[in-house]
């Protein structure tokens, strides 16, 4: 019997736990369709960035207004175009087209800056037909006067307000940098989130040694990054009543399987598909099926969370003890660096 890969995420029934996360592949209709052909359960569109929209509107405005009505021979410098979009229309149009073209659920993603912006764009995404909404809570808080309590409270309030504003399922994608992440997760759940996406990866600056300039940088994830979501999904599974999505570091079926075993409802994949093409998705599904068939698992539902902290034989392994074991088992050698397939992860 072919194992049943269906899973439930945010209350949506998905044909597979392999979900395409936001990437250039989901910003393009053709590649979205190709991803669907390769068996994904759902697709998350790239984030609609309120800050970018605002920035662009101001930029365009300033360029068009620059030096107008100041010189006798030329009062303007550009033709007034009848209609142009510096707002969310292009994004919403892409969402509408994706919905029309795909059978799988389409999840919109949103990164706001102002309370009004979050709500406005959330409603627009819902109206455009999104099956669910992922709130991409992404901010680098640099103000020394703003405390962690303030930041958390703001995030919780935001989730509550969006929850009230829309009726489609709501996922919240957060970063890992919370002192008490479990508590934060519980609060997000209480505020109305239907799911948590773990974890956001931040654009990280780099230094160009040639030009001595700072360059924003987002490297594709590496298999090693899997550990962080793996731990927290395992810990949260059963402790919060929300769907859990693992994102980051899923490069092969083994990683996907580990995350499911730890308790993820879905695993989200971007880097691997970008690096190796949309057919990776099919490979992941095939890998899962083969392993499940060999081990006689009937369904994903059956294995989901079977190695969560609550269900695993050694719960402490997800806590501090893990560190100790890693140290004692660490045996450096030229070949024996940490690899993606090694079961004995090394935390450094």
């Amino acid at each position: 019997m072919t194992p049943d890969l269906t899973t439930t995420y945010l209350g949506l029934r998905l044909r597979s736990p392999i979900v395409a996360s936001a990437s250039p592949l989901t910003s393009n209709l053709e590649s979205l369709q190709e991803l669907e052909r390769h068996g994904i359960g759902a697709a998350v569109l790239p984030s609609l960035f309120e800050e970018q929209i605002e920035h662009e509107q101001i930029d365009v405005h300033e360029l068009l207004e620059h030096q107008t009505h100041s010189f006798g021979e030329a009062t303007t410098w550009f033709p007034e175009l009848e209609d142009y979009s510096t707002g969310p229309e292009a994004y919403l149009e892409h969402l509408r087209q994706a919905k029309a073209a795909l059978a799988i659920p389409v999840i919109a993603s949103l990164n706001g800056v102002s309370p009004g912006g979050w709500l406005r764009y959330a409603r627009l995404c819902e109206d455009a037909g999104a099956d669910a909404l992922e709130l991409n809570v992404y901010a680098v808080e640099t103000d020394v006067d703003v405390s962690a309590v303030d930041v958390e409270a703001r995030t919780i309030r935001l989730v509550r307000e969006v929850r009230e504003a829309v009726s489609i399922p709501l996922a919240v994608k957060v970063g890992p940098f919370y002192t008490a992440f479990a508590h934060m997760a519980a609060q997000l759940s209480d505020a109305g989130a239907d799911g948590l996406v773990l974890f956001n990866r931040f654009l990280q600056p780099d230094i160009d040694l040639e030009t001595l300039e700072i360059s924003p940088w987002l490297a594709l994830s590496t298999p090693a990054e899997l550990r962080l979501p793996l731990r927290w999904i395992a810990i949260l599974r059963g402790r919060v009543r929300v769907s859990l999505a693992a994102t980051t570091g899923v490069h092969d079926w083994q990683s996907a399987l580990k995350l499911l075993l730890a308790g993820a409802d879905v695993v989200m994949v971007a880097s691997a598909a970008l690096a190796r093409g949309p057919s990776v998705m099919a490979d992941l599904g095939a890998g899962l099926r083969t392993w499940m068939t060999e081990r006689e698992y009937a369904s994903v539902e059956q294995l989901k969370g079977s190695l969560s902290q609550a269900s695993c034989p050694d719960p402490a392994a997800f806590e501090r003890g893990n560190y100790m074991r890693a140290l004692v088992s660490y045996a450096p050698s030229p070949e024996a660096g940490p690899t993606s397939t090694s079961n004995r992860g090394i935390e450094r």
């Binding site: 929209i53 605002e54 662009e56 509107q57 101001i58 365009v60 405005h61 300033e62 360029l63 068009l64 207004e65 620059h66 030096q67 107008t68 009505h69 100041s70 010189f71 006798g72 021979e73 030329a74 009062t75 303007t76 410098w77 550009f78 033709p79 007034e80 175009l81 009848e82 209609d83 142009y84 979009s85 510096t86 707002g87 292009a90 406005r120 001595l212």
Partner: protein, 1183 residues
């Protein structure tokens, strides 16, 4: 689009709408002040707006007005209803076709925003000299004197031409009518339909050329019949006045607005009558009304149909009692008995009246010279004198031929129920845009009639704008600047030190200042003159820190929204709450397309504006010790102090005739006296990390950051903290160098800082030059700069001029121009003057470069300490290559004549002079010495031959001719001439400052515009490729061709210019020039140039015929194969990026083609680089 009802629009829009509805083919070409008519037609066409018959007119941009007229002629001949819009030189280029169109009895209308024809100088402003040059074409000439009339009579013209078969030239005054915003009653589509008779349209079409019933038109005729055939058209002219009157009457029946061929206003038994046409009628009518109220028997005849001049209708219009007539012409016809309207009036009276009234003729309003009711009254008053001037001028002081009339400036007629406001703003602060909105708000929400006229600067950066607004319960017909303003706003505090902004304030007026001070301390910061005027005129003074409020609201420098709100609060024309709602609605309708963020920031500015508004208690006495500073220094030449300073101060109207050059010849080297001090931040040099690269000086568009290399002893007497450092290059051991900013000439554009490659090791963002607030550095840098200028210029023989560093050691002779901040053109011109400025003749095509180069009061073309420098002239737009070639021919001819005479007059000096090597700086310097000796010898000899040689000897020193212009000239209107000059083999150099659009008129597409760019006349993105001018030129084989981009490869730029000059045949250098019409942050201009080259958008190359020999490759690619997709370049410029937001599918398709263009061109160029080309090098043709 107009659907009837009331609207506040300008004359151009009013006319363009009618012309668009009434036309099928519209051929256009940009020219100030007619440009916006073509722009609107093009926009409507691209939006699919239909004409009267439900079809969308075809609008096509041509390569010149001559081309537009040709296309119109062809369209008419093939049966379309065709029109065009133009002005000035544009109309002159249409004349040949106009004779044909009229001679063929073809229904057509040309709408003209009347503008001065260039004579001793170009002027973009209004008068009738262009229209008068078209009198003999056979077109009927119909004149409108207001925005309302311009709309109405435009339709009369279209209707009458269909009925009469005679083409009409419909004209109205440039700027005063074309650009004046006025609340008018709009015509509706049904009005247009009613007046354009479909049967007549069908008749027009039936006369068209078609192979279905072929005819021959455009024959060549001989003495036997030409004359008779010409007379055959007479009956068609005879009926025109009656037809025009009938169409006017039909229009009046529909609209209630009556017009006559000649309209009379004034006393029914007037004895003294004024006659004029155009916008001056508004001012004249007010004068006549006031004089009649005072009991005088005076009147005014407004001429509408000038040609054919209907003498009977004219005589019938005159009151029977008239005994004295003054005719005012807005044109000058030197050497004529009188100006054209005067002559027609005299002829009509002489032929039809038994008792000839006394008629005098005067000129007024040339080049938009103000024409006020007081001036009209002066003309009427002249008629009362026992011996009035037969010919006169009014509005100026003529102290040479004493033709001018005295004007009683206390005579004013401003209506009592009209609110008048004047606003002084900076180009960048949005004042004019806000005022345009305010007029519409008051017209729409308060039911008032409004008028707005905007006096804009001729400087592109840091320009001052003055907005003149009127509001009232009746239509506003005051066609002159506001004189007694109830409200004066100064949007830039610094203006108080430069101009007398209170001059126009009425007694008891309200004054609003945008100041960085509060109500308690602003008074102490006012100059004494302003304090005295505020007290004397009992002004109410209000202050607001709009700059801070705008900044906090995220609006940058645009203080307009804040100050507009304050205006409504103070002007009290409508209740404040209603006004605020109306302002917000206006913001929404103006900016809704721009997005929520833009709306929210403007709304925030409105909401916060009034919090900062406060009234200032005006003290009883002026207390300021600070008077306005003199605008030019005391050491300036007399002409600059006596004439130029007046112009800088905005007081040029007061200059008498005697103050001005008789032939348009002005001194160069004057921009340095106009310290505009517009930069808020200026670059400050840190010598400790400078690497002597000279790039900052090279790229500075304003020559405001400079480099000098000098021996240590030159520092004797330097200010204590004058900065210098060791010059590290080995070419000049022991020398020092300084990079110095000209603090009051810098615009703060930041291009120099962007290009500076030297970073501090400790703090990377700190460069060798950094923008810092000017106020912190002004005094010190001013003193340093003064000393810097005193440091002797380096001996030109010591430097390698064909290098970046070498060129920047040399004195720039193009400085402090009024070009845009960060201009991409001016750095090329500046380096040209560094390389060859002391022997440079420049022919400059009309366009940006002729404006920032030659628009008074001052010029950036300057002189070296020996008094040598570029000699510059602008002839026209279309003829520049030929104009420059003429300069070359004259120089060559003089040199040839001198060479013959040298042997006769000074045989001992002849060999050295005639054999001199002038290919190097030292060779030229040596020749100058020899020629000086020769000239001295000639003076001593004083024989006829010696005297002749003396006048020619200068030609023995090599002169270099550069023919400079933009892409509009080189690719379009001047291409025929450019091509001919390239083919001439002569030693001329052509520099094309390629901004890829018509920059000066506001960014219309040229044939240099690249595919996929949005430009005016290509609103949907240009669909065709950019013309490859360089390849066309290189096909000649003997033309040196280079394509350069300073920001990408500055050594190649300098090298190409030097090579072009050295090459003794024709050279063409095409220089990529970033431009505000590209929609970029201007300080990033050089970065964009680099990206243009790195993506293959703008390949760099040099084609040097001197390498056209077997085994050599004349074509050399100087840039590397594209390493980035062209989208990386395009996505950073609004001209491309806009399209992706407006028409994503089109944009994607065009972007693909743009990449194809790049790939394809690179492919071809690579093959070019491989070819061996045996071509003859330039040999000058014997003539």
């Amino acid at each position: 689009m107009g659907m009837g009802g009331r609207a506040t629009i300008d004359g151009n829009e009013a006319v363009a709408w009618v012309a668009y509805r009434a036309s099928e083919v519209i051929a256009i070409y940009p020219i100030t002040p007619a440009t916006s008519m073509g722009e609107l037609a093009d926009t409507w066409s691209s939006q699919g707006v239909p004409n009267n018959w439900g079809a969308v007119p075809q609008v096509i941009e041509m390569q010149s007005e001559g081309g537009a007229a040709g296309a119109v002629h062809g369209a008419l001949q093939a049966g379309a209803l065709a029109t065009t819009f133009t002005s000035s030189q544009g109309l002159l280029l249409m004349l040949p076709n106009m004779f044909k169109i009229a001679g063929e009895l073809t229904s057509a209308v040309i709408h003209v925003a009347a503008r001065s024809v260039a004579t001793h100088a170009l002027s973009i402003f209004g008068d009738h000299s262009d229209v008068m040059a078209a009198r003999s074409t056979g077109f009927a000439l119909l004149c409108s004197s207001s925005v309302q009339e311009a709309q109405d009579l435009a339709l009369v013209a279209h209707a009458a031409t269909l009925r009469t078969r005679i083409p009409f030239l419909h004209f109205f005054d440039g700027f005063r009518t074309s650009h004046e915003l006025n609340t008018i009653e709009r015509l509706g589509e049904d009005d247009v339909r009613a007046l354009l008779d479909d049967d007549l349209v069908a008749a027009h079409r039936a006369r068209a050329l078609t192979p279905d019933h072929p005819v021959l038109r455009g024959t060549a005729q001989n003495p036997d019949i030409f004359f008779q055939a010409r007379e055959a058209a007479n009956p068609f002219y005879a009926v025109i006045p009656a037809v025009v009157q009938e169409e006017m009457t039909r229009l009046a029946e529909r609209t209630g607005r009556p017009y006559r061929l000649f309209d009379y206003v004034g006393h029914p038994e007037a004895e003294r009558v004024l006659i004029l046409m155009g916008s001056g009628a508004g001012a004249a009518e007010e004068a006549v009304e006031r004089l009649c109220e005072n009991g005088e028997r005076v009147g005014l005849v407004k001429v509408r149909l000038f040609r054919p001049f209907d003498a009977d209708a004219f005589i019938a219009t005159l009151p029977a009692a008239v005994s004295h007539i003054a005719v005012l012409d807005r044109t000058k016809e030197p050497a004529a008995q009188g100006e054209p309207l005067f002559q027609d009036v005299v002829t009509a009276l002489a032929e039809t009246s038994s008792e000839m009234p006394r008629v005098i003729g005067g000129r007024y309003g040339l080049s938009s010279k103000e024409f006020t009711p007081a001036m009209a009254a002066a003309a009427i008053a002249e008629l009362e004198r026992p011996d009035p001037k037969r010919r006169f001028t009014v509005g100026i002081t003529d102290d040479v031929t004493h033709l001018s009339l005295k004007v009683d400036t206390s005579f004013t007629t401003e209506p009592k129920d009209v609110v008048r406001a004047v606003f002084y703003g900076l180009g960048a602060d949005g004042t004019v845009g806000a005022n345009r909105n305010s007029i519409k708000i008051l017209a729409d929400s308060a039911g008032l009639f409004g008028q707005g006229y905007f006096v804009l600067d001729s400087k592109k950066a840091g320009s001052m704008t003055v907005s003149h607004l009127r509001f009232g319960p009746q239509p506003i017909t005051s066609t002159y600047l506001v004189q007694n303003a109830d409200f004066v706003a100064c949007h830039q505090f610094g203006f108080l030190d430069r101009v007398d902004i209170l001059e126009r304030a009425a007694e008891g007026a309200t004054l609003l200042l945008n100041a960085p001070y509060g109500p308690d301390d602003v008074w102490d910061h006012l100059p004494a003159e302003a304090q005295r005027e505020i007290i004397a005129k009992h002004l109410r003074l209000f202050v607001v820190d709009a700059t801070s409020i705008a900044l906090e609201a995220g609006l940058g420098k645009r203080v307009n929204t804040v100050l507009q709100t304050c205006f409504f609060a103070l002007a009290d024309v409508v209740p404040l709450e209603q006004a605020i709602d109306a302002i917000k609605n206006a913001i929404r309708s103006t900016y809704s397309k721009r997005g929520e963020a833009v709306l929210e920031r403007n709304f925030a500015a409105v909401d916060r504006a009034l919090e900062g508004l406060a009234e200032v208690t005006v003290p009883a006495k002026a207390s300021s010790a600070r008077e306005r500073r003199a605008l030019v220094p005391a050491h300036a030449p007399a002409f600059v102090r006596e004439v130029t300073e007046q112009m800088i101060a905005g007081a040029g109207d007061a200059l008498p005739v005697s103050a001005l050059p008789i032939d348009g010849t002005f001194p160069t080297d004057t921009a340095k006296y106009e310290k505009r001090s517009i930069g808020l931040e200026i670059p400050i040099w840190d010598p400790s990390i400078c690497i002597d690269c000279a790039k900052c000086a090279l790229v500075c568009p304003h020559a405001a950051i400079r480099m000098k290399v000098f021996p240590p002893e030159a520092l004797a007497g330097a200010p204590e903290d004058f900065l210098s450092k060791e010059w590290k290059a080995r070419d000049l051991p022991g020398m020092l160098m300084t990079i110095q900013v000209a603090p009051e000439d810098c615009t703060g554009c930041g291009i120099c800082v962007e290009i500076c490659p030297a970073h501090s090791k400790e703090e990377v963002r700190h460069k060798s030059i950094n923008l810092e607030p000017k106020t912190d550095h002004l005094e010190v840098e001013r003193e340093r700069y003064e000393f810097f200028l005193e440091i002797p210029e380096i001996d030109r023989a010591l430097v390698a001029p064909g290098t970046v560093k070498g060129s920047q050691m040399l004195q720039p002779l193009f400085e402090y121009s009024g070009a845009c901040e960060g201009c991409g053109e001016t750095p090329y011109l500046k380096v040209l003057t560094q390389l060859f400025g002391d022997r440079l003749l420049i022919a400059n095509a009309t366009g940006c470069s002729s404006i920032y180069g030659g628009n008074l009061p001052t010029t950036p073309w300057s002189q070296n300490p020996d008094g040598r420098g570029p000699a510059w002239s602008n002839s026209l737009f279309e003829d520049n290559a030929e104009f420059g070639l003429g300069m070359r021919l004259a120089n060559d001819q003089q040199a040839a004549a001198a060479r013959i005479l040298v042997s006769e007059v000074a045989p001992d000096l002849a060999p050295e002079i005639l054999e001199a090597d002038q290919t190097t700086e030292s060779g030229i310097a040596a020749q100058r010495v020899r020629v000086a000796t020769l000239e001295s010898r000639c003076r001593d000899l004083d024989t006829p031959e010696a005297r002749r040689l003396l006048s020619l000897a200068g030609g023995l020193v090599r002169k270099t001719v550069w023919i400079v212009g933009g892409d509009g000239w080189a690719y379009d209107i001047g291409f025929g001439g450019l091509d001919h000059v390239l083919a001439s083999g002569r030693d001329v150099n052509l520099l094309v400052l390629d901004t890829e659009v018509y920059s000066n008129t506001g960014g219309q597409a040229s044939k240099a515009t690249p595919r996929a760019a949005v430009a005016k006349f290509a609103a949907g993105g240009k669909r065709t490729r950019k013309k490859d001018l360089g390849m066309i030129a290189s096909a000649y084989g003997d033309v040196y061709v280079a394509q350069i981009a300073m920001g990408a490869d500055n050594p190649q730029t300098v090298k190409a210019l030097a090579e072009a000059d050295a090459y003794t045949g024709p050279s063409l250098v095409i220089a990529y020039s970033h431009c505000i019409a590209h929609g970029i942050e201007m300080k990033k201009g050089m970065e964009q140039q680099k990206l243009a080259v790195d993506t293959g958008y703008w390949p760099l190359y040099r084609y040097d015929p001197r390498h056209s020999h077997a085994g050599e490759h004349p074509f050399r690619l100087d840039s590397r194969a594209p390493k980035l997709p062209v989208s990386d370049f395009m996505s950073r410029e609004a001209r491309f990026a806009m399209l992706a937001r407006a028409r994503p599918a089109d944009a994607a398709e065009l972007a693909k083609l743009a990449q194809y263009d790049v790939d394809e061109r690179w492919h071809v160029y690579e093959q070019m680089a491989e070819i061996e080309h045996e071509a003859e090098t330039a040999t000058e043709e014997e003539s």
